[in-house]
């Protein structure tokens, strides 16, 4: 396996193309811009189309159109740009159009945005949060797979460290197993047959072949998401067996936590870590099991406490949960501040260790 | 051709089929008909709307069909009237 030295954005673009993505529409916004630039360079060479969408709203709706026509398609942005896409992401969840949204976030402050939507209606978005570039390469392809598997938009939650770190990686197509045919996709051939196709959030169907309508359709969608919740959560953990303290973190922060926890174990602390790999579905059962015997559950995230809600819902004993993260932003506003740093994290964990927990 | 039909035919180069149950009584066809041969019924249809009725003199010009929002009309042009009668082709 030869490694290529690729910037995160470059590797993610290559992986998306390897996954069969053939349509991309995006609008520049740091640190998403690099992915857009790479896609605009690489995708045409692979026979795909990359559009300089004139805005995020147009970008996500172009993507929805391309995906409704059956293509593997993606868009992306971060923060404000993703906020602008919420209406369409919800729409896609409710009219069952699969595509991938690359949220190359500026920080971890958009956990709620990803996991609780903010679009409208009862929908959820599968959200993958890789911890580094090699995992990102895999998640990109998994994201397209899950989107098609469940006919739903999937969010890839990255950050500046993922986007801008260059590292030796190898990008090859991955096989996640067979998928249902896209027989629902619009290709024009339904016209005049009496059985023309329809992609419609309200699912009212045709006069000659009525659909379920919003009440039944939206209930079915809610059931679909409940089913996804039951089967698609992913997590990673270490040293849970003997841990008195478990640190929960996601994305890049989890990589830092893992590093620090290994150091602390080397120092003799009975400590472990837990990482939700999917932010939604949140790996609640796994967390409940992992926290069954610990005294402290420390939550580290670079925000004011968002994943914290999910940890509180699922930790075996919510009174054991302590928040050790916080808002931390670079002066530019475009990257992490000083909290995303191993020594700082070590200090925070040490302080928490000295404070006791449930007995 | 029945006698009534012949009477109706008099002076008409065309005729209609009117799906009166589909009519919503907007009267757009009435004003649109160049020779003014459509009149609104005094009866109402199933939905409670008055609908157009055809009186003699239809030219088969299709204006009524063109403007009707409820797809009420089919228009026929008599072929036996000779070429000269068919000015609106």
């Amino acid at each position: 396996m030869t490694l290529e030295l690729l910037e995160g954005s470059e590797a993610i673009a290559a992986s998306a193309i390897a996954a069969g993505c053939r349509f991309f529409a995006g609008y520049p916004m740091s640190p998403f811009t690099g992915l857009l630039e790479n896609m605009s360079r690489q995708l045409p060479l692979a026979g795909g189309v990359c559009l300089n969408a004139e805005s995020e709203i147009e970008g996500v709706n172009m993507t929805l159109g391309a995906a409704a026509a059956g293509a593997r398609a993606a868009t992306g942005s971060c923060g404000q740009g993703i906020a602008l896409m919420q209406e369409a992401i919800a729409e896609a969840a409710l009219n069952e159009t699969p595509f991938v949204v690359f949220n190359m976030a500026r920080n971890q402050q958009d956990y709620f945005q990803a996991t609780r939507g903010g679009g409208w209606g009862d929908y959820r978005t599968i959200t993958l949060a890789p911890k580094d570039v090699p995992e990102a390469v895999e998640h990109v392809q998994l994201a397209f797979h899950l989107a098609d598997k469940h006919r739903a938009p999937v969010i890839f939650y990255g950050d500046p460290l993922l986007a801008q770190t260059r590292i030796g990686v190898s990008v090859r197509p991955l096989d996640f197993g067979p998928l249902p045919p896209k027989d629902w996709a619009l290709d024009g051939t339904g016209g005049g047959t009496g059985g023309s196709r329809q992609v419609w959030t309200w699912a009212m169907g045709k006069a000659t072949d009525p659909g379920p309508g919003p009440d039944r359709h939206w209930r079915a969608i809610a059931e679909k998401f409940a089913a996804i919740d039951a089967i698609e959560s992913r997590s990673e953990q270490a040293h849970v067996e003997d841990a008195e303290t478990l640190v929960v973190a996601f994305g890049s922060a989890a990589k830092f936590v893992e590093y620090v926890v290994e150091e602390l174990r080397a120092d003799g602390h009975r400590i472990g870590w837990f990482r939700p790999v999917t932010l939604w579905p949140f790996p609640g059962e796994a967390l409940a099991a992992a926290t069954a015997d610990v005294r402290r559950v420390l939550v580290f995230e670079l925000n004011a406490g968002q994943m914290l809600d999910d940890v509180r819902i699922h930790a075996a004993d919510r009174s054991a949960v302590r928040f050790i993260g916080g808002v931390s932003i670079a002066e530019s506003g475009l990257a992490y501040g000083e909290l995303m740093d191993a020594p700082v994290i070590r200090d925070r964990i040490r302080t928490a260790l000295s404070e006791g927990g449930r007995s | 051709m029945s006698e009534q039909e012949v009477g109706a035919r008099r002076g008409s180069r065309g005729t209609l089929v009117i799906a009166e149950d589909r009519c919503k009584g907007c009267e757009l066809c009435i004003d649109a008909c160049p020779p003014g041969v459509l009149v609104m019924s005094s009866e109402v249809n199933e939905m409670g709307y008055r609908y157009p009725e055809l009186t003699p003199g239809c030219t088969g010009c299709t204006a009524c069909q063109l403007v009707c929002p409820d797809f009420v009309f089919s228009v026929y042009r008599f072929t036996s009237a000779g070429a000269s009668g068919d000015r609106h082709g």
């Binding site: 770190t165 260059r166 590292i167 030796g168 830092f256 | -």
Partner: protein, 189 residues
Amino acid sequence: MERELVVTGVGGQGIQLLAKTLALAATREGRHAMLSADYGGEMRGGPSKASVVIGDRPLRALPVLASAWSAIVAHHRFSEPALARLRPGGPAILNLPLVDPASLPAMTVYGVDAAAVAKSVEAPQAIGFVLLGAYNAVTRLVDPASLVAAMQELLPPYRRQHAAANARALAAGAAALDVPGADLTEVSR
């Protein structure tokens, strides 16, 4: 074993290209490399930093280094935070006379007047490559030929004409090690 390098300087000194060259050279040698860049949205004269990690197995290091083994200090401005993370004992290449050796922790410090060396081989823009050449001569992290190849690979088509000068700068930086004196001085503190 993982080897970490931090490079710190100001925009325009070729910091990013230097770091990329080293990381690519290691990659092309089949090793594992990671490069983290950290430059503001600022224009010329603003801070420019990079870190490179090289190892023989998948890397453990974080993109924000907790500590580093070695350094190239191209400019003293903005260098403080990076220097604070150096582990004592490792090698550091300083750009003389801009950087004061006293600013470093207990490192094995080598100074090089990169501007003068670069000028001397008619590669005045290639200060970064002089420093890289010197660094690699000290640390022997990669084969010098790999550095040249990586440098060439990284040049965009419209800059190909600089390849020879850059190669001279790399060599001159390395050569400076063989000639003790003003150009390259091991400074012990």
